[in-house]
């Protein structure tokens, strides 16, 4: 088992004909992901390495049975593309695009929240990898192997760092989910942790958070009440000064809210072990 993506994933890529879109689509396909179609308005009828391209998501879903979408289009088109995929009935949308305006994200989130028909992961995320089954996004799969540790993170490269440290200690992964560093992520830590709790293959959960917002504190509450599996956490940004955005649009300490220390304390108060470095997280996870 795994969560969100697996052998049944049928992927349609929005922005498949762009440079980055093509590169990562073919990477995902080479990994074994079933990439069934792509969407680029005006390029319907073409193909990318044999993958058919459609003008609309509706055509792509109708013709190829896509159940998962990956969004690679530039920020100004991304919200529209996510909404189109949802309107076409796609159940899972993974948005890689960085730099989507916050008010666009707000509209998309509130629209999708009206029904449970579509899950959005991201935006501004590295995607989802279920080792041995499917890779949807830009996570370098070579550094991960099949196993029982579920990883959820707001950051891409930090996920690779932690995954690599886990791998060096012989630990593989059920799934790795990047929820993204934006202010309004479609999927929260809680959503992913709940899915890992329900996944029989996952035995331990690693969550990597960072400064800004209150998602880690909310996750701490949820874990205390609903999660039986061990959770190890990491928080980045102890040295971040208030009022400065640290790369991710969502990573900003406002006043005393959103500090790494507050998040660490909230997690530890709920019995979640927090590793102070990525190395320490892997050591705690390896000890069980």
């Amino acid at each position: 088992m795994s969560i969100f993506v697996d052998g049944d994933t049928r992927l349609c890529v929005s922005g498949i004909t762009g440079r980055e879109g093509t590169f990562h689509t073919l990477n995902n396909k080479a990994y074994g992901t079933q990439v069934v179609s792509g969407v680029t308005p005006g390029k319907g009828g073409q193909d990318v390495d044999g993958i058919p391209v459609f003008d609309t998501f509706h055509d792509a879903v109708l013709e190829t049975g896509a159940n998962t979408a990956m969004i690679f289009v530039p920020p100004r088109f991304a919200a529209d593309s996510i909404l189109e995929a949802a309107d076409a009935g796609v159940a899972l949308v993974v948005a890689i695009t960085e730099g989507i305006p916050a008010h666009d994200e707000l509209r998309v989130y509130n629209h999708l929240a009206r029904t449970d028909a579509t899950r959005l992961v991201g935006p501004n995320c590295p995607g989802i990898l279920s080792p041995g089954k499917a890779n949807v996004g830009i996570i370098p799969a070579a550094f991960f192997s099949e196993g029982n540790v579920g990883v959820v993170s707001r950051s891409g490269t930090l996920t690779y760092q932690i995954g690599n440290e886990l791998a060096q200690r012989g630990l593989g992964n059920s799934s790795i989910v990047g929820i993204g560093g934006d202010p309004v992520p479609g999927t929260s830590f809680i959503d992913v942790i709940a899915a890992f709790e329900a996944d029989p293959e996952t035995e331990l959960i690693v969550m990597a958070g960072e400064i800004g917002g209150s998602a880690e504190e909310e996750a701490a509450e949820y874990i205390a009440e609903h999660v039986s599996k061990p959770v190890v956490a990491y928080i980045a940004g102890f040295t971040a000064p208030p009022g400065k955005t640290m790369g991710h649009a969502g990573a900003i300490v406002s006043g005393t809210a959103g500090t790494a220390k507050a998040k660490q304390e909230a997690l530890e108060a709920r019995g979640v072990r927090v590793g102070e470095t990525p190395t320490r997280v892997a050591e705690i996870a390896a000890a069980g």
Binding site: L106, R107, P126, P140, Y234, G237, H248, G250, T279
Partner: protein
Amino acid sequence: MDLLEYQGKQLFARHGVPVPRGAPATTVEQAVTAADELGYPCVVKAQVLIGGRGKAGGIKLAADRKEVEAHAGAILGMDIRGHTVHELWIEQASDIATEYYASIVFDRAAKRPLVLLSTQGGMDIEAVADSDPDAIARLHVDPLLGFQDFHARRLCFGAGVEADVIRGVGALLARLYAAFVAEEAMLVEVNPMIVTGDRRVVALDAKVTLDDNALFRHPDNAELRDVSGEDPQERMARERGLTYVKLDGNVGILGNGAGLVMSTLDVVAQAGGAPANFLDAGGGAKADEITSAVEVILSNENVTAVLFNIFGGITRCDEVARGLIEAFAQIEPRVPFVVRLDGTNDQEGRALLAEAALPNVHAEATMLGAARRVVELAAA
């Protein structure tokens, strides 16, 4: 991006939010001309992106031309909590009967705009929130529905707004919400929102934070960026498209991906060092971008050693190595570098560095080892 008070007021005015008449000035002469045109008494207000202007002496009432001259002369060039005053806003004095507070914040946790209203304006709203939380009415608005009249009524009755100005406060809130949405703000705050002697409701201050990611749709707003108060290194980095935040220490840091860079700063601090900056070279950085980033890091004279911490995904380690080699060819860095390369094309990257044998560049195999090494070298 934060706006100066007067820029916020001009933005408000475009959306029909009532604001006092005023004019900007960068010299004493301009201030006097503006005051003469507006009439007396008027207020001379320092325009800096920091709170506490009044307490610092940056806001003064002027009864006549002589006082405008004196106040403008004193305030221009004044330092307010680290911010030098380069600009003034000269404004007609208002007849204040009551001071309220209103704001709309982009509430990340609730994923909705949150409107706040209080009759205890004019002071630190966080202090009010602590001492008397019931004095602040709060309401989330469904962004797909927008701000309705009933929202305004609930807020006004909840906050205890005086009956005769409920319509005026409601109208101002509706216009403020329209500005928040149309200009794609993360925050609009009016403190104080005043009721005048003749019972008009007016925004006497304006604090506006805009979403940087939406500025491409608002080119006029994008031009409002206050570069005078910007750190020179941060400005240089922004112009080169790099994500850079200057910090107080001496260990220069470059990494790829915001989370990993934040983590690198933390690990350096835990190893006993003090980071000089946050620099995210981003995904897929090419050699010339790395070279450019090295220049930005070294333009901070406090830097005594530099750490490269790369875990390549989209970023290729051989590109990073080429960028560093090119940087050494162009600028001959005077400080030691510690380089940790893992991920995509890491072997090629390490081989390139080994072959180049750059002076005072040290390879490390792990993030932790690299952090310890750079802290030692920075202190040496």
